[in-house]
């Protein structure tokens, strides 16, 4: 999975957090508090690898600064954002219920749009939609210039012939279907509206279109510039907690820059699923509580902590904790969707404590280890093959139909364990036989010294409905010899020696194989089947091999 990488200005981070970032080491150390890693530092630009997919509040410079202030003890517990009431109303139409039913919104007033703010706002909007919103499927964010919108706002589905507007970075009005075909963003996200007859539209009381979620904003209201003073933000999606989290994350970042948060009233068509309520005022900035035992915390961490220390460490992770006897009650912001269980709080406590401040402890268990019998047997066979002077090789399990089928002169109807979304035709299927892989290997070594005597022990796969993975996996030994005078006798001598080494009876009965010449047969090695012979001239030609090759392949 590609986790978000965010760019921040080091100076900006210093001024927002009040912490001096004097060296790379210092930055690296501090980023541990937000599960971040330095990707690149280039002058004032710091690229951060964000490793936790469930902490979108860390995906902006404001969010990083907010957490650093807590972890360094400058500001503890939950940040109390002041939310004032606006009289802006957003009315949601029932006709989007099956398409993209939910929307939440907020207003940010009196904001001074600086370059840093604008960059971070766009970056956060983008990362939330892409990573947290699963490529906008679960959430998409629209940000508009409030002063050119006339509330109340409407969120409603329109047919293709009912609406047109100028999308961002475009000059002429277009219908929704045209945007999906022609506009870059339309092309990129059109699958999200596949098969729908109604297109989700956000518009104001003058019927001016603000956006078509989750695809694109309109050119008129959807362009935020340094002149913009008041913002209207909406988030659409399928799941209320996801979109509310995204809205709060956006609002917090802008409020940390001096913006004033105002709530809006969202009127849903009903209070039944998928709607959270008939009427809801967002952003909620609600909190939740989790209760767990102190015993559990101490057992999990292995640390000896006093109540005071627990309180302090949790407060640094932005919890509001209380301890009564054995119970810990930790209050936290609802946007912390990563908190499913007490262990999620415990990890936060450990991060506050500092992983590197903990003394590691050896695990004392009196156990006898063992290799799997399979691995030991493979190694046993390998020793035998090496004793015969054979060079081991290791080829890939993934290969092509060209090698496994065409060059082996095998029937095109033959089926393989096959990858649907292969990256290259060279690695489209799993090998079903080892022989073609060794012939391919030899074909790459024609300029090397002969004779060449090689072997591989490895897995081959075939379809098998009786197995729980749908695949039967077997280990085989394959030996190939090539030089001007190799013949059936030479390869059979190797087989007989291997059989002797394995302590098994071996017999070869004459049988034809499409890829083997006249001298070929079926092997029975203590009940396991295989084939042996001189590789057919036509097959050698397919692989571009000039010298004769003798081969056997046997199941282990």
């Amino acid at each position: 999975m590609v986790m978000p990488k965010i760019d921040v200005s080091i100076k900006d981070l210093e001024s927002l957090s009040g912490i001096k970032l004097s060296s790379r080491e210092k930055i690296e150390e501090l980023l541990e508090f937000v599960k971040g890693e330095v990707d690149v530092i280039d002058g004032d630009n710091l690229k951060i690898d964000c490793k936790d997919p469930n902490r979108p509040d860390f995906w902006s410079v404001e969010g990083v600064a907010r957490e650093l202030k807590a972890k360094t003890g400058k500001q503890k517990g939950i940040v109390k954002y002041k939310v004032q009431k606006s009289n802006i109303v957003l009315n949601v139409d029932k006709n989007l219920e099956k398409i993209r039913p939910l929307i939440v919104c907020a207003v940010i007033k009196d904001i001074k749009i600086t370059e840093n703010l604008l960059n971070q706002m766009i970056q956060l909007q983008e990362k939330l939609g892409e990573s947290f919103g699963r490529k906008r499927k679960e959430l998409a964010i629209g940000i508009y210039d409030l002063d050119i919108m006339k509330p109340p706002i409407f969120y409603k589905g329109f047919k293709d012939n009912e609406i047109e507007f100028i999308p961002l970075e475009w000059k002429v009005p277009m219908r929704p279907s045209e945007i999906l075909i022609q506009h870059d963003k339309g092309k990129a996200y059109k699958h999200l509206l596949e098969g729908t007859k109604l297109y989700p539209i956000v518009l104001d009381s003058n019927n001016v279109v603000a956006s078509m979620p989750p695809i694109i904003n309109s050119q008129i209201t959807g362009k935020v510039t340094s002149q913009t003073k008041n913002l209207f933000i909406e988030v659409t999606g399928q799941n209320f907690s996801t979109i509310e989290t995204a809205l709060e994350v956006m609002c917090m970042a802008l409020a940390d820059r001096g913006g004033k948060i105002y709530s809006c009233t969202v009127n849903y068509p009903s209070n039944k699923k998928p709607y959270p309520a008939k009427k809801i005022i967002t952003p909620l900035f609600s909190t939740e509580k989790i209760v767990f035992s102190k015993k559990e915390l101490l057992a999990k961490t292995g640390l000896e902590l006093k109540d005071k220390e627990i309180i302090e460490l949790l407060a640094k992770a932005r919890f509001v904790p209380k301890i009564s006897k054995d119970k810990i009650i930790a209050e936290y912001s609802s946007y912390r969707i990563d908190i499913l269980h007490a262990v999620d709080v415990i990890e936060d406590l450990l991060i506050s404590y500092g992983f590197n401040n903990i003394v590691p402890q050896k695990i004392e268990m009196n156990l006898v280890g063992s290799q799997s019998e399979e691995a030991r047997y493979i190694d046993f066979v390998r020793e035998g093959a090496i004793g015969l002077g054979l060079q081991e090789v290791q080829t890939y399990n993934l290969t092509s139909k060209e090698i496994q089928q065409k060059q082996m002169l095998l029937d095109e109807k033959e089926e393989f364990v096959e990858i649907a979304n292969y990256v290259s035709l060279n690695y489209q299927i799993f090998r079903k036989k080892m022989t073609p892989q060794l012939l391919s290997f030899l074909s790459k070594n024609k300029s090397q010294e002969y004779p060449q005597r090689i072997f591989e022990i490895g897995t081959v796969l075939e379809l098998d409905k009786s197995k729980d993975s749908g695949v039967n996996q077997r280990n085989v030994l394959c030996v190939a010899i090539t030089h001007s005078n190799t013949n059936f006798t030479e390869i059979k001598s190797v087989l007989v020696q291997i059989a002797k080494y394995l302590g098994k009876e071996v017999s070869v009965t004459k049988q034809k194989f499409v890829f083997l010449g006249e001298n070929s047969g079926e092997i029975n090695l203590g009940g396991k089947k295989g084939f042996i012979g001189e590789v057919k001239e036509d097959v050698l030609k397919e692989f571009g091999l000039k010298k004769p090759v003798t081969i056997f392949e046997i199941e282990l």
């Binding site: 402890q361 268990m365 290799q371 002077g389 060079q391 081991e392 090789v393 090397q448």
Partner: protein, 479 residues
């Protein structure tokens, strides 16, 4: 001088004895000394290095054998095979009998028939081929001429032209090496030819190369890693290449809408599309873990879990899939498990990326395991496998562990490397599968360490298709 002569090898002596002030080719030298040409070449190089001989190169246009010519020289030309088959059949044979006996293709047979007829080596009487005996009186068979070409003997232009037309010889610029005796060589030759001097070996001299049967360095590396884990008390579990998403993701508490489960981040199979899930009790335990936390005190992910997504078959994407299989099968406690797993991810093969790679993964189960044990185990690994001088821990994220850690190790030569990831399996997994106590899961990136131990910069050499590299590579020994 006497000591220097004593040190000469058998082949050097033989070559030195036939050299004179006149430049001769290696081929001639080979004939005079009765040594194979490779030995002449080697001896000449050594003699010239010792200042007993002088080598010169000369380039001239020469007739040489083509691949076809070489084959003909070795096996005979179709017309000769034709004749010898005929003579074996008593000098008379029908077309079909002769073709069968000669094992020539019909095209070769027709050509051979024409040539032999033209040369009057055979006649056809009433559809039967008969030999004339003329061939026996002809010393200049084609094979003889081909041999003469190899030997560099004078050949009639007409004959050469004929061979060229048949694609048996071609004109090529040939650089040949010539050799003659030097002044010192002359003295040495005199000593050698007048008295019987026993050889003393120059023990510092190079010797011919031989190729032994060997494991690939990567296999050898992995074997020793296995042994180390066994010594640390771990039991190996099997690691099949294809598993259901149930093990790859669902048992590991990875929600079904997780971005890692999408088309671009993971391989999907066309055949087979699905496998089967284990018994209903386990499936419903995992379902409720995802939906509402099940018997654990977790909230769960709060979505509707689908059996059909979990049944999809996929190439194993990470080694933890095999830990998941073991957790479902049931675990002993206290116990330690590991797997060396072949994993697959959609990537483009290049010097730093493999499309299939090995991961070393496992877990430890026990009643009283805590976070300090997790750090202790990682530190032990870093010392055992990477000879780490220092270690550093970083918070990390895995869907199936909480808390999660990444360990960086300071390797004495490689510097700081990201070495391992680990964490404590989430209660949603353990409690819903009925596993008591705690479990520490870990994974170590061994391919980078393998590259270092093998001394390679290009990761593709782990699965090298170059037999030259495999033959020359040193064995791998982990301290």
């Amino acid at each position: 001088m006497l000591n220097r002569v004593k040190e000469l090898s058998e082949i050097e002596r033989k070559v030195l004895l036939v050299l004179s002030d006149e430049l001769i080719s290696f081929e001639n030298c080979s004939k005079l000394s009765l040594l194979p040409i490779d030995s002449v070449r080697r001896a000449s190089a050594w003699l010239s290095e010792k200042d007993f001989a002088i080598m010169k190169e000369s380039t001239e246009e020469k007739f040489v054998l083509t691949d076809l010519g070489n084959k003909a020289l070795l096996e005979g030309l179709p017309e000769s095979i034709f004749l010898s088959a005929l003579s074996k059949l008593g000098g008379r044979a029908s077309f079909s009998d002769l073709q069968k006996a000669s094992k020539l293709s019909s095209q070769e047979f027709t050509a051979a028939l024409g040539i032999n007829k033209r040369k009057a080596f055979i006649v056809i009487v009433n559809g039967v081929i008969e030999e004339t005996g003329v061939a026996n009186d002809q010393p200049n068979s084609c094979e003889n001429i081909l041999q003469n070409v190899v030997d560099g003997k004078e050949i009639e232009d007409g004959l050469l032209l004929d061979l060229q037309k048949r694609g048996l010889v071609e004109k090529k610029l040939v650089t040949s090496r010539l050799i003659k005796i030097s002044k010192n060589g002359g003295v040495a030759q005199k000593i050698l030819s007048t008295s019987d001097i026993e050889r003393t070996f120059d023990v510092s001299a190079p010797v011919p190369e031989i190729f032994a049967g060997k494991k690939t360095p990567y296999v050898q590396f992995l074997q020793q890693i296995r042994h180390k884990l066994v010594a640390l008390g771990f039991e190996e579990v099997s690691a099949p290449l294809v598993v259901t998403e149930f093990y790859n993701f669902d048992v590991l508490f990875q929600p079904q809408n997780h971005p890692a489960r999408t088309w671009t981040d993971s391989y999907q199979l066309l055949k087979p599309r699905v496998g089967s899930l284990p018994n209903k009790k386990i499936v419903s335990a995992i379902k409720s873990a995802h939906e509402n936390g099940g018997v654990s005190k977790s909230k769960g992910w709060g979505y509707e879990w689908s059996e059909s997504i979990a049944s999809r078959a996929v190439p194993a994407m990470h080694g933890t899939a095999h830990s998941a299989r073991q957790l479902v099968k049931g675990v002993k406690s206290p116990h330690k498990y590991f797997a060396i797993a072949r994993c697959f991810r959609p990537d483009v093969l290049d010097a730093t990326h493999l499309i299939e790679f090995n991961q070393m993964e496992g877990f430890v189960v026990g009643d009283d395991l805590n976070f300090k044990h997790l750090l202790g185990m990682l530190k032990d690994f870093a010392i055992e496998f990477a000879g780490a001088e220092k270690v550093k821990f970083f918070p990390d994220y895995y869907p199936f562990t909480e808390p999660s850690v990444q360990l960086s190790a300071k390797h004495p030569e490689m510097g700081w490397i990201e070495f391992a990831g680990a964490g404590m399996f989430r209660p949603e997994m353990l409690e819903n599968l009925g596993i008591k106590g705690q479990a520490i899961a870990w994974g170590v990136g061994i391919d980078r360490l393998a590259m270092f131990k093998l001394g390679i910069k290009d990761i593709r050499y782990l699965f090298s298709e170059d037999i030259g590299y495999l033959r020359k590579a040193s064995g791998v020994f982990l301290k």
